[in-house]
Symmetry: C3
Amino acid sequence: MELDYTLILDIIGVIAFSISGVLAALRKRMDAFGILIIAFVTSIGGGTIRDILIGAPVIWMTQMIYVYVIIATTILAVIFRKKLAFLRKSLSLFDSIGIGLYTVIGIEKGLKYGFSPEICIAIGTISACFGGVIRDTLCNEIPSIFKNEVYATACILGGVSYFIFLKLNFPNGLIFFLAGMTVILIRLAAVVFKISLPSIYKKEENIEDYW
Amino acid sequence: MELDYTLILDIIGVIAFSISGVLAALRKRMDAFGILIIAFVTSIGGGTIRDILIGAPVIWMTQMIYVYVIIATTILAVIFRKKLAFLRKSLSLFDSIGIGLYTVIGIEKGLKYGFSPEICIAIGTISACFGGVIRDTLCNEIPSIFKNEVYATACILGGVSYFIFLKLNFPNGLIFFLAGMTVILIRLAAVVFKISLPSIYKKEENIEDYW
Amino acid sequence: MELDYTLILDIIGVIAFSISGVLAALRKRMDAFGILIIAFVTSIGGGTIRDILIGAPVIWMTQMIYVYVIIATTILAVIFRKKLAFLRKSLSLFDSIGIGLYTVIGIEKGLKYGFSPEICIAIGTISACFGGVIRDTLCNEIPSIFKNEVYATACILGGVSYFIFLKLNFPNGLIFFLAGMTVILIRLAAVVFKISLPSIYKKEENIEDYW
């Protein structure tokens, strides 16, 4: 039963990521196929890299539900694209749930395959973030998560919290829930209060000068 | 004997893709090594992603013929680059044969590894299209197949036709031939009659307005 | 004991590549996390692609030393970024040692997994060069190694020398040393004497004219 619950949350993440892919592709005026591919890589890119890195079978290739959800979301998002503005705030919510869940699922998959905590945190963060990195690269942009957003930071902190809760001998389901919530709340707080990482650059600093 | 015939067609595809890679690299004024690498990734990028996704050994790493053909094609294409304009129409033909063949080979490889029809069609389309996606990404362009070309669409329709012919119990060789021809003819028709997908954008529609 | 010596040289390569990643990310004014990720992919991107292609476990996922060195280097490079100009020449040296070592390690890993000499040279070159390719792609630039630099060329020539020394029945350690030095010296000579590949373009030649 818990599996189904996870699947539902996972699907919410896929939907949110697909919509963000559709929007990025629409902005570049891609054709119908381009939009579908961008939605696809945004949703499953992170998980694909995760599975290739750890040597596991690539998940969307054996669980058809992902492909169907992405196709349906893409069609609906294109048709109702004018209405998406109203969804903007809920989208941040879905997206935050998505990265929270992807981070923890990635960590647990890493643990199952015998990797160390540090590597598991990296795997979780990659699962959550690299779909967006591929999306932006294919759209010929510098990946947005590299530019002043508390996004990967939320995943990393949530990942650290996972191993703290594990050390404290919390039960498994609770660790999953608490670490996922840590990611989600940090990310949501950053969106709501417009928090960004402290800049490492001084005003008018020009790196070219040093080099 | 059929295997040799497939290999010949496969080599034609590799040549066509290598030439398109050389041309893209020349336009960006890359050096000799850059041109070779772009020719290489354009030719074998799609197949490499296919093999990594399905967990198969990467084909060009064990069959040296690919590497030799790509190197020879690149050298000849650079030397005779002024003459390539005359090849333009034949190139579209070679290229279409290439994607037709790559699509069907990808589908059959997917079936051999036990994937479902939908995933096999995705695998075939990725085999045929992602070499060009990597080529354009490394050349710092938005992948051309995402912009109003009946390219991946031809692969997807050909892939669907493959499973229709399979359902009709056609013999294996005939299915291979008919599905490949479906891809090739749709792609060639699009090139010859300058057909593109119907635009999903209204005139002067600005996606930024909604968001 | 030789293993430790190799590890030390390997770490020097990782440090040099991390610093080049940090500098590229600083130029794009990325945030702290973006800088870390770029340092990471520059250092371990080539080796990751190598391991995925040959079907080996990805090395940095089981040897934590890489992750720690990259994180420490990134933090120090960001803090002391004004001082890096003084390191510029030593950096070329470190970087050259890095690609020399990565090339030979890649070749030997390829041989261990049973690949042919040509493919092993390709694997070595990919190990040494593709970290930089991913770095530049994520920074939305055309990869610098594709543009008139004797970089991959040094790796390929060093790789060829490896198999010449092997044919001459030199002892293993000596082959490793000589082939690595070939890469390093060609690369350093190109940097010091500002050598680049002969241009294949005629003055004011415009490839668009042919096409």
